[in-house]
């Protein structure tokens, strides 16, 4: 087992080294005479003293958008994208101690690897080409402290983004060099023997040149975990020292005028303690490694004579290796490798009065979509598949400002996947702003997803799962009404009512003929519901954001969907404390959920983060307590598990020290 690759002796030396070199305190106040000497670039980076950092609700956006700004990301100690996203109205996270799964508005299918969520970093697609998986937990290619702003767009957005944007888009707006202008180092220690080191550095050299660089590495021993399903004659139910995790990630970005070059590498190694896929319980050796790579060149032109061009070229890679230890020391390896390259081009035209037209085309060649499954000794191969594919999409969107109060947003997208006939996805949104403080939206849209190579071709040789090459794309149609009201200077209140209808849902089912799992198209599935959300900020740093969601789901036979809570509640708040300390906390609760074989009880969890005032030298200390009440709660498991539900983490602590260099 490889678990912690990090050498702490070396890190300690680095910390001492950093201390020696640290110089300036954070947040000094600049005087008028100093400001007069600064360049425009620099002035635009100065923070306004005491300004409300209220993230603007995106009134013109043809969808409901939740924005989590950098301050909130920082003040709550979210450890990964998944934790931050779980504060979004109507969203919820489940975890199987390997990956985190994002459920949206009652939709989180067991056996679905986040393929209905599109993950973007700075607008670039990050779902891999083989499993279509959006990695949002520690396995994600990015770290949350590299993110300047996290946006969640709920509802089908295929009309712009194409496949995978069925239930929502997660866009992580990454830090730019100018947001750092220097370097920052962080060190964490926490429960379950977890340790992490992170480094951020960046500089805006001048208005044309900017660079940003980030590194992070983490290792955790993991807790001993008890699974009652394995408390039997052969085992005592304890998986000891089998929940370790280690990851390393790097990200870099260079900007030359209108050109931007970014690159990202990540590798995460996770031991699996809960014996998935009928592996031997309590034995080390069952683990997965997920690795991502992306290089991207983007051009973002200036608006000139009413025309603006943007284009992007990218090359991405993903590698998954699952090692599964079976009884009698039989090792099975499950591998997936994907490589893709592509590009997109967008033209924004504003020459017509009151119209903003966007035309785009994008294409992606999935040059490698390899899946292998084999036993090591004796060597037996069960799967060796490589089905490359190609996608082409074209879209047009018109933002028509009919009058100062009315905006009509119409979009149409055409998509062609090399294995399927072409699909057109329309979308329309009518936005009415009767006053500066109210926005009403009516939205209808459709989105689609072609089955991925994993869902179609994966076959483990008759153990658990078989292929279904005849699988068809699924479609979603969505209707939503949204109202958003500004209350006073710093408050807002919103209501959303929605209905989602999915046709030909790609779902994992058991074939009664041979007892094997397979993905197949299901008939109609529906979810509908209502979200209330509100937020308010006060002078002095007090802030509160909350939401309450009620949701009804039904499968074709009228039954409720699995892992689909009827109620979700969230409360996120920040309080300034004495002597410059601040407290960030969030409570999340959900009602009971159906699992594959029964019910998982509802629960509520409180997380808290205490952040110190700036230390001498500009550093900062933060103490996080997660699941403060040590609440025992469960998430429904997929059919990969013997367990019907999987126990989640109890109370955990984390201490973070960060330091500008």
């Amino acid at each position: 087992m490889r678990s912690t690759t990090f050498r702490y002796k070396c890190s300690l030396a680095l910390i001492v080294f950093c201390f020696g070199a640290s110089t300036q305190a954070g947040g000094p106040v600049a005087h008028a005479s100093e400001l007069a000497l600064m360049s425009l670039d620099d002035l635009l980076r100065v923070e306004v003293q005491g300004a409300s950092r209220y993230a603007q609700p995106l009134a013109d956006s043809p969808a409901s958008v939740t924005v989590i700004d950098q301050q909130e990301l920082h003040r709550h100690g979210y450890r990964n994208l998944a934790e931050a996203l779980s504060s979004v109205p109507g969203a919820y996270i489940s975890n199987d101690r390997n990956y985190s799964y994002l459920g949206v508005r009652g939709f989180s299918r067991p056996g679905d690897y986040n393929s209905r969520i599109l993950l973007l970093t700075d607008g670039a697609r990050r779902n891999d080409a083989l499993y279509d998986q959006a990695h949002i937990g520690n396995e994600s290619p990015i770290e949350l402290d590299w993110v300047k702003r996290l946006e969640f767009v709920s509802g089908p957005a295929s009309a712009i983004y194409g496949a995978n944007a069925l239930f929502g888009i997660v866009n992580a707006v990454m830090l730019d060099g100018g947001d750092i202008n220097g370097a920052r180092f962080t060190a964490d220690v926490g429960s379950a023997g977890s340790r992490r080191l992170g480094l951020l550095a960046g500089q805006r050299v001048d208005s044309e040149h900017e660079w940003f660089f980030a590194l992070a590495a983490s290792g955790a021993r993991g807790d001993d975990l008890y699974f009652p399903e394995f408390d039997n004659a052969a085992h005592d139910g304890w998986a000891r020292g089998l929940d370790g995790e280690a990851y390393q990630k790097a990200y870099g970005k260079l900007r030359f005028g209108n050109w931007r070059l970014s690159a990202n590498l990540s590798s995460r190694d996770k031991n699996l303690p809960n014996a998935p896929f009928l592996t031997a319980f309590g034995e080390p050796g069952t683990r997965t490694v997920d690795q991502h790579a992306l290089i991207e060149l983007a051009y973002d032109g200036e608006l000139s004579k009413g025309w603006q061009q943007q284009f992007r070229l990218f090359n991405g890679g993903y590698r998954y290796e699952g090692s599964y230890r079976y009884a009698d020391a039989l090792d099975n390896l499950d591998q997936g490798r994907a490589n893709w390259l592509g590009g997109d081009y967008r033209l924004i035209v504003t020459t017509l009065p009151a119209h903003k037209l966007m035309l785009g085309i994008e294409t992606q060649w999935n040059t490698l979509l390899e899946q292998r499954n084999f036993d090591v000794l004796p060597a037996v191969s069960y799967l060796d598949s490589n089905r490359s594919s190609h996608t082409l999409g074209a879209f047009v969107q018109d933002e028509w400002r009919v009058s100062p109060q009315w905006l009509l947003n119409l979009g149409l997208r055409y998509d062609k996947h090399s294995d399927y006939s072409a699909i057109t996805s329309p979308r329309a949104a009518l936005i009415y702003q009767p006053s500066e403080s109210a926005t009403l939206k009516a939205m209808v849209g459709s989105a689609y997803r072609a089955p991925n190579a994993y869902e179609r071709f994966y076959d483990d040789g008759g153990v658990l799962q078989k292929a279904n090459p005849a699988l068809l794309p699924e479609r979603i149609r969505s209707v939503e009404l949204a109202a958003d009201f500004q209350v006073g200077q710093a408050g807002r209140f919103g209501v959303n009512i929605y209905r989602n209808d999915v046709q030909d849902l790609i779902d994992q089912v058991l074939d009664p003929a041979d007892g094997l799992l397979m993905y197949s198209n299901q008939s109609h599935v529906q979810t509908q519901g209502i979200d209330f959300n509100a937020e308010r900020r006060w002078d002095g740093g007090y802030r509160v954001r909350g939401s309450l969601s009620r949701q009804w789901s039904s499968a074709a036979d009228g039954s409720e969907l699995g892992n689909s809570p009827q109620w979700l509640g969230k409360l996120v708040f920040g309080l300034p404390l004495a002597a410059g300390w601040t407290l960030g906390a969030e409570w999340q609760g959900m009602s009971e959920r159906r699992s594959l074989a029964g019910q998982v009880p509802g629960f509520g969890v409180l997380n808290m983060l205490l952040t110190s005032r700036p230390l001498t030298g500009g550093g900062e200390l933060a103490v996080g307590v997660y699941n403060v009440g040590n609440r025992q709660y469960l998430d429904p498991a997929s059919s990969a598990f013997t367990q019907d539900a999987l126990v989640q983490d109890g109370r955990q602590f984390r201490l973070r020290w960060s330091m500008p260099l």
């Binding site: 690759t5 070396c10 950093c18 070199a21 300036q24 305190a25 954070g26 947040g27 000094p28 106040v29 600049a30 008028a32 400001l35 007069a36 600064m38 360049s39 425009l40 670039d41 002035l43 635009l44 980076r45 100065v46 923070e47 306004v48 003293q49 005491g50 300004a51 409300s52 950092r53 603007q56 301050q71 202008n181 220097g182 370097a183 080191l197 480094l199 550095a201 500089q203 208005s207 590194l215 590495a217 390393q248 790097a250 209108n258 590498l265 590798s267 690795q291 790579a293 200036e302 608006l303 000139s304 009413g306 890679g317 590698r319 504003t350 100062p404 500066e436 500009g618 500008p660 260099l661």
Partner: protein
């Protein structure tokens, strides 16, 4: 392709730390009126005015109508040299703006905006403001606060109508450019 190596990461981290330590900047803060005034003035470097008779070319005149925190901060910047011309900040009457090259409108000028729009000479005056919605009401360059920092929007069409040239460098820094 992309496989990570433990030792490589460690070395890279150490090297990077050594390279970066000389860089030391922390996020600065400033009071809102002074910051806005400094931004407005530094923007004037990126604007070119049409040559015109009868206007003294040896100084850059910024006018305001009513006293406000930003206009007070602007006045404190009077005398600063911009492209060799001293900055002159003066209070002006809405009916007599002939000497102004820049007109700053404070939030309290909102009620007079429609009338004002007709009295501003068609050419040669850059109208700037810092109030939400001013861009739609005739202001060419409008500051707002977003995410705790100052951002600005430009109405390029009206700036061009006034004969002003705005450099592309500034357009790139803008949040929105209306054409």
């Amino acid at each position: 392709m992309l496989m990570a190596i433990g030792g490589f990461w460690r070395t890279l981290l150490a090297l990077l730390l050594m390279v970066l330590t000389p860089l030391a900047h922390a996020q600065r803060q400033a009071p809102e009126p002074e910051l806005k005034a400094a931004i407005l003035v530094s923007m004037l470097l990126f604007v070119d005015w049409p040559a015109r008779q009868g206007r003294s070319p040896d100084r850059l005149t910024v006018c305001y109508l009513a006293a406000s925190p930003v206009s007070t901060a602007l006045a404190q910047l009077g005398g600063k040299l911009l492209k060799g011309q001293p900055l002159q900040v003066e209070r002006a009457d809405a009916a007599a703006l002939g000497d102004c090259q820049v007109l700053y409108l404070s939030p309290t000028d909102a009620s007079g905006l429609p009338r004002l729009a007709s009295s501003v000479p068609a050419r040669g005056i850059l109208v700037v403001g810092d109030s939400p919605g001013y861009l739609q009401r005739g202001v060419m360059l409008n500051l707002e606060i977003e995410g705790g920092r100052v951002v600005f929007d430009i109405d390029l069409r009206s700036a061009r109508q006034a004969g002003l040239t705005v450099s592309s460098k500034m357009l790139r820094l803008a949040r929105h450019v209306t054409e």
